[in-house]
């Protein structure tokens, strides 16, 4: 999937959980879910489940380990989509 399209989808997924509007407006590949968007760690699992639903993929524990920022999440989604 094209990066722009992927980032737009990801932005819609994280929107309900963000606690920093400015960081959200400027969301890029370098954005960190916790440090930048101030997403509570209790909601990271919701992002993972939403990603699974949106892209119709399943994420294992090893995939989840790195899903703390936009870049790693995009990389994992792309890997999973290619393997489909």
């Amino acid at each position: 999937m094209k990066n722009e399209k992927l980032i737009t989808k990801l932005k819609a997924i994280v929107a309900p959980y963000i606690q920093n509007e400015d960081a959200f407006k400027n969301l890029s590949e370098d954005t960190d879910f916790v440090n930048d968007l101030q997403i509570n760690s209790a909601n990271l699992v919701d992002i993972i489940l939403d990603v699974e639903d949106e892209f119709d993929i399943r994420l294992e524990n090893e995939d989840m380990e790195k899903m703390l920022d936009v870049k790693s999440t995009m990389a994992i989604i792309n890997t999973k989509l290619l393997a489909k």
């Binding site: 959980y17 606690q19 920093n20 916790v34 440090n35 101030q38 509570n40 760690s41 209790a42 909601n43 990271l44 699992v45 919701d46 993972i48 489940l49 699974e52 524990n61 989840m64 380990e65 790195k66 899903m67 703390l68």
Partner: protein, 190 residues
């Protein structure tokens, strides 16, 4: 070394849905899922176990500076208000305090009483909460050590692990906030 984690009950009800498909399986081992299922109040058990895992993770990353998201790998055992969490070769003791408003867990390498101090916020702004929790921690340390707040330097490592420095001594600290509540804890350096 110390880790703590607070869960605001109202916030957990409002902002999370533990009953959504695959939620439990992502965070909890089969044993833990059974504990949740057999618990009198499954909602409380979900968040109790979650706070234990988070507190243990914070302690673990103080010992092993790193950053990752793998709550399921932190396996919990519960006994009364105590618990043990294990991850790979690491394990720690947990104290948990449960009220109708919040669940608070504190992780230590050796069994200890609960030392975390609670703050309730009048604003839901995340940045404001982090800042005021930090100020409360610094004030508390200033009183404990009878030292001016300007001598206490709060910092976070590249992995986001917080510490406070007094002169050349490093104090391990842990901060947590969720919903309307925050809690800090610290260890007295030897």
């Amino acid at each position: 070394m110390i880790g703590n984690d607070i869960v605001d009950i109202a916030e957990a009800k409002l902002k999370s849905n533990w009953q959504r498909p695959r939620f439990l399986d992502k965070l909890f081992t089969l044993k833990e899922q059974l504990i949740i299922k057999n618990s009198e109040n499954s909602f409380y058990m979900v968040w109790r176990l979650w706070s234990m895992k988070e507190a243990a993770y914070k302690l673990y990353t103080q010992l092993n500076p790193s950053r990752f998201y793998n709550p399921k790998a932190f396996e919990c055992k519960i006994e009364d208000t105590n618990g043990i969490v294990s991850y790979k070769g690491f394990s720690c003791y947990i104290k948990t305090k449960i009220t109708s408003n919040y669940i608070l867990s504190e992780a230590r390498l050796k069994e200890n009483r609960m030392t975390s101090e609670l703050t309730s916020f009048d604003s839901m702004d995340s940045k404001y909460q982090s800042e005021s929790l930090k100020i409360n921690l610094i004030d508390r340390l200033s009183k404990t050590y009878n030292i001016s707040t300007s001598k206490l330097k709060f910092s976070k490592s590249n992995f986001g692990i917080p510490t406070v420095n007094i002169n050349s001594k490093t104090i391990n600290v842990s901060l947590s906030h969720h919903g309307n509540f925050g809690a800090f804890a610290f260890t007295i350096p030897v």
